[in-house]
């Protein structure tokens, strides 16, 4: 059981179930918020509970009270679709306005929301490099520099002693870090899926591990070169 870890020469801490706290930058990192996912489905007749944005933003606000970060960086797929910003209901919008006012809020844009207008505050970037670590939505093959990304929604899924344990998780290699989805209604992709190991773009001798958050600290699991959990 470990509290914090090193990546790209920097110290990080897993914050809550799906966020990272970057001490040197005093930044909270989240990914794949998929705000207004429920209303995107409602458009097509699936009336999912219209509380996902509020729930997601309240969870971020709770982490803010704990860490009081200067920056919040959201690594793309911030809104479930391009119109999501327009659909944001009053209560959720008010929360977001507070958050973007009280912190230096950075939107990295993703494949779901190719643009963010900044209507509710914050600044938008395609990608951003801080202290030599590149922050982008989807892992880029062939980039030799340390990188933190999202997009794949990795999830740990194992039967342990006859009980199915499912939980969002982080994927970490010496150069790449893939964050889980933070949004309240975002599902996950099995961390053993081949798409994830491909995105890790492993060089010779590099290992991959899944970091699974627990109530305090996290558990580490090694992944094979094929992406399956080492047994």
């Amino acid at each position: 059981m470990t509290q914090s870890f090193e990546f790209g020469g920097q110290q990080f801490e897993i914050a809550g179930e799906a966020a990272l706290y970057w001490r040197a930058q005093d930044a909270l990192l989240v990914s794949d918020l998929h705000l207004e996912k429920a209303s995107a489905f409602a458009l097509y007749g699936q009336m999912l509970p219209p509380y996902d944005s509020v729930s997601t933003l309240q969870d971020i606000a709770a982490l803010c009270s704990k860490y009081s970060p200067v920056k919040i960086i959201s690594l793309g797929d911030n809104f479930h679709d391009d119109d999501g910003e327009q659909r944001l209901a009053k209560s959720a919008a008010a929360l977001l306005v507070d958050l973007t006012r009280d912190t230096e809020w950075i939107w990295i844009t993703g494949n779901h929301d190719r643009t963010v207008s900044g209507k509710w505050g914050g600044k938008a970037f395609d990608e951003l490099t801080l202290s030599g670590i590149t922050l982008r939505h989807e892992a880029l093959g062939g980039d030799p520099n340390p990188e933190i990304s999202g997009h794949f929604h990795p999830k740990f899924r194992q039967v342990l002693r006859g009980r199915m344990v499912k939980r969002r998780c982080f994927v970490k290699t010496p150069r790449k870090m893939i964050m889980p989805a933070f949004g309240a209604l975002t599902g996950g992709l099995d961390v053993q899926d081949v798409a994830i190991i491909k995105a890790c773009d492993l060089a010779d001798g590099e290992g991959v591990e899944a970091l699974v958050p627990m109530q305090s600290g996290y558990a580490r699991f090694a992944l094979n070169k094929t992406g399956t959990l080492a047994k």
Partner: protein
């Protein structure tokens, strides 16, 4: 077949063509067949209760045939509804033969999920005289605008095997459809066919408009000969534990050899695979033995059913998948592996053999342990006395109502008050008031949330004339695609690389497999090649398989009726004389070392064992209730500092162990546990999430996953668990949470029986403090399936344990 009934024959005029047909076969119409015609002539609804083999199906159809002969007409005359798709096809054959032999110009067609859509469309324009269908297909038919015209001519509706589904969600759906049919064809006669049930009045009320059972005439068939039932003791021994009865395999082989065709019923799919395997290992005579259960692919099941129909098999190992339906007249022996769990189900299974009324059916019970022996004996007595289990009817579910109302909206605009009056005529929904109905409509229209976020996206809108209608025809297509009542656990399809499908396993089981692992399925040893998306690709295994898939499914609980009998048998000491020596000595030892509870007493024993303190209670209320009780009691023990470690539940008893002794069990069994600990526990447990998943799919909140229509690449399927979490946090009073709660209470926790148990616990408890484990407690304590008590977060503990394994594995 001759009429041996002394009752005066009812006076009805059968058309000569029907009488001639009976005569040509050397038959006479039976009394109940004539009474069904009489009921139809008198314009009455009718419930026919008769044993299998009594000519029930023909009795249901005869009035329709008579009607169509006496007054030939165009248009749909009769709807026949069966709970099984395969049965509808089977009956089609059985009905078509008389029609053909009588040379009647009557058109009969089937309409199920397998019927091509062009034929379905044609049926709505040019309907047959008799349409054979299922509750789900009927519901879908009602969602088409042109069905109104098609169904206006309907005279009779026949519901077959009504005992098998009336009190569940499919029964809810059908009761709503019947109400609709009655509106479209006001003179419609409702007919239901049922196996023998404990209380036919329950079913008369269910069938009748407004629950008015006096409108439904009860017609009873002749009673079948009492079955020839025996209890088989494995090599004369009754094991302490286990459920499988697999020690009896050599004797089973003897029975298979002795009979023409043997059906072997198992209570779970897991057990069916296990027994099949054991039989095959012992099959020196090379008998043709097959396997049949609900997770095999349709192709595999049809193949086995075909082999049975042609008489190619000597034995078939099966599960509840064969409780109903397909009649194979040549089965001459039925074997029940493990405990029968209820007398009605057992009778139904016995009825699968020998369909001649005048000869006894042969059936053998194979109990797996000593308690199961008592249960088998109780079932034996019940069957001998002809006593059935009572059925519980509960109010209709809101998720089914939402599906029905959406279906009707697809057929055309409706008036809210008129539709409410119609659905109130269905007994399960008679208690729905205007406010609740408005909630259901709001749910369909916008999700029914307090936060009116989706008013712009309404699925239903109100016309200027005040009627509700669909806002876009696209929603009708969506509804028809997703409608249905059966919601499976997430499953993976097992197939060979060449595409041949074998069946399905649950995701939870598949998650334990990796390439190279072997398991047994459909009686074959299979090796996992790869797991892709929702497919489990396999090949024939080259090494032995030691793993069999298990399925969550609903566990069949011991019925209240049989539980009462087992309790009674324990207290009746002179009655022990007929038990095998081992069982009798076991009970006598219990009386000597501990106590045997008197009638109405709840025995609770406490004793130290293996450095822990045990408490074992014997309520006989079924696994579900005991499992729930175990969860609740250990919570309470924890808050009282008794340091519980774990518990184990069976259909008969509950055992709990802790680090500190329980000196007085009474406070642990007090009824307030249902108020204080219950809600808290259910909300956090997987039970409510499982129930929520089902209501979310049935009500149309989330779309079903259809095989072949998978999203590619990233998994975008919806986890209803996430929706549940958000909803519980922000709108705990939502209609669907209410519906999930109702399901969890009724089906998953058996809270009714738990409540009864706790109500009488305080007054009837017989607490015996012992120095060591009692004989009665042994079968429970050697059971597998123990639960450890959640200390803090179980998942975290499991992760930490697994992590350390992973690190060890990584160290060179």
């Amino acid at each position: 077949m001759h009429l041996s009934d002394p009752d005066p024959k009812p006076i009805v005029n059968l058309p000569p063509i029907i009488l001639d047909w009976f005569a040509a076969r050397g038959w006479q119409p039976r009394r109940h067949q004539l009474e069904m015609i009489e009921a139809a002539r008198d314009g009455r609804h009718a419930l026919l209760v008769a044993a299998t083999g009594a000519g029930k199906t023909l009795a249901g159809f005869l009035p329709s045939l008579k009607d169509l002969i006496d007054a030939p007409s165009d248009g749909l005359h009769t709807l026949y509804i069966s709970p099984l798709k395969a049965l509808a096809t089977d009956v089609r054959r059985n009905l078509l033969i008389p029609i053909e032999e009588m040379g009647l110009p009557i058109r009969v067609e089937a309409r199920t999920g397998d019927t091509p859509s062009d034929r379905k469309a044609r049926q709505r324009v040019k309907p047959p005289h008799i349409l054979l269908t299922t509750p789900e297909s009927l519901s879908l038919l009602l969602s088409h605008e042109d069905s109104v015209h098609m169904l206006a001519t309907l005279k009779r509706v026949i519901v077959d095997e009504v005992h098998a589904f009336a009190n569940g969600k499919r029964g809810d759906l059908l009761s709503l459809s019947l109400a609709r049919l009655q509106t479209l064809a006001p003179k419609l006669q409702r007919v239901a066919l049922s196996a023998t049930v404990a209380d036919p009045d329950d079913y008369r009320a269910w069938l009748a408009p407004y629950g008015d059972m006096d409108q439904v005439r009860l017609v009873e068939g002749e009673t079948a000969a009492a079955p020839d039932l025996t209890i088989l003791l494995p090599e004369g021994r009754v094991p302490w534990a286990g459920h499988s009865g697999h020690h009896a395999i050599p004797q089973l082989m003897d029975e298979i050899g002795r009979n023409k065709i043997t059906l072997i019923f198992c209570n779970t799919r897991f057990l069916a695979e296990f027994i099949f395997q054991k039989l095959w290992d012992a099959n020196e005579q090379k008998f043709a033995i097959g396997i049949h259960h609900g997770s095999l692919s349709v192709e595999a099941r049809r193949k086995v059913e075909g082999a049975m129909a042609e008489g190619k098999l000597r034995a078939l190992v099966c599960t509840a998948s064969l409780d109903l339906g397909v009649d194979w007249g040549n089965v001459d022996c039925v074997i029940q592996m493990g405990a029968p769990k209820g007398s009605s189900r057992l009778l139904q299974r016995i009825g699968r053999s020998n369909h001649r009324m005048d000869e006894p059916s042969k059936a053998i019970l194979v109990p797996g342990n000593r308690f199961e022996y008592l249960e088998a004996q109780a079932a034996f007595d019940a069957v001998t006395e002809g006593v059935r289990d009572g059925e519980t009817f509960r109010p209709g579910s809101y998720d089914v109502l939402a599906q029905h109302v959406m279906g009707l909206a697809c057929a055309g605009p409706f008036d809210e008050a008129e539709l409410l009056a119609e659905i109130q005529s269905a007994l399960p929904y008679s208690g729905v008031d205007a406010a609740s109905f408005a909630r259901v409509i709001a749910f369909i229209a916008t999700g029914g949330y307090a936060l009116k976020a989706y008013d712009r996206f309404k699925k239903l809108v109100k016309d200027p004339d005040g009627r509700w209608r669909l806002s876009h025809p696209q929603f009708a297509a969506q509804h028809r695609f997703n409608a249905g009542i059966i919601v499976d656990a997430p499953m993976l399809e097992i197939r060979f690389r060449n595409g041949r499908k074998l069946g399905k396993v649950e995701e939870t089981f598949a998650a334990t497999l990796s390439p190279g692992n072997c398991f047994t399925f459909a009686g074959m040893a299979l090796e996992v090649e790869s797991i892709k998306d929702l497919d489990l690709i396999v090949r024939a295994a080259t090494k032995p398989a030691n793993n069999i898939p298990s399925y969550m499914g609903a566990r069949l609980p011991l019925t209240t009726h049989l539980a009462g009998r087992v309790r009674q048998m324990l207290t009746d000491r002179p009655g022990w004389a007929r038990f095998p020596d081992e069982v009798r000595e076991w009970l006598e030892m219990q009386a000597y070392r501990s106590q045997i509870p008197k009638a109405g007493q709840l025995l609770v024993e406490t004793f130290p064992h293996d450095k822990r303190y045990y408490m074992v209670a014997y309520p006989f209320e079924g696994w579900n209730a005991h499992q729930s009780l175990g969860m609740l009691i250990t919570r309470r023990m924890e808050s009282r500092g008794l340091m519980p470690m774990g518990f184990v539940a069976s259909d008969y008893a509950l055992g709990v162990w802790s680090l500190k002794p329980i000196t007085d069990p009474r406070p642990l069994f007090s009824a307030d546990i249902l108020a204080d600990e219950f809600v808290d526990w259910v909300e956090q447990s997987y039970l409510l999430k499982r129930a929520f998943r089902e209501v979310a799919v049935i009500s149309g909140l989330v779309e079903r996953q259809h095989p072949g229509k998978r999203k590619t690449g990233r998994q975008v399927t919806f986890s209803t668990d996430l929706i549940y979490d958000v909803l519980r946090k922000y709108e705990p009073d939502h209609l669907l949470l209410e519906a999930a709660w109702a399901d969890a209470r009724a089906r998953l926790t058996d809270v009714g029986r738990l409540g009864d148990l706790l109500d009488r616990a305080a007054d009837t408890m017989l607490h015996v403090d012992l120095e060591r484990v009692s004989p009665l407690a042994v079968p429970l304590l050697v059971m597998i399936g123990r639960e450890s008590v959640a200390q803090g977060s179980v998942d975290d503990a499991l992760l930490m344990e697994a992590e350390s394994l992973a690190s060890i594995a990584m160290t060179p």
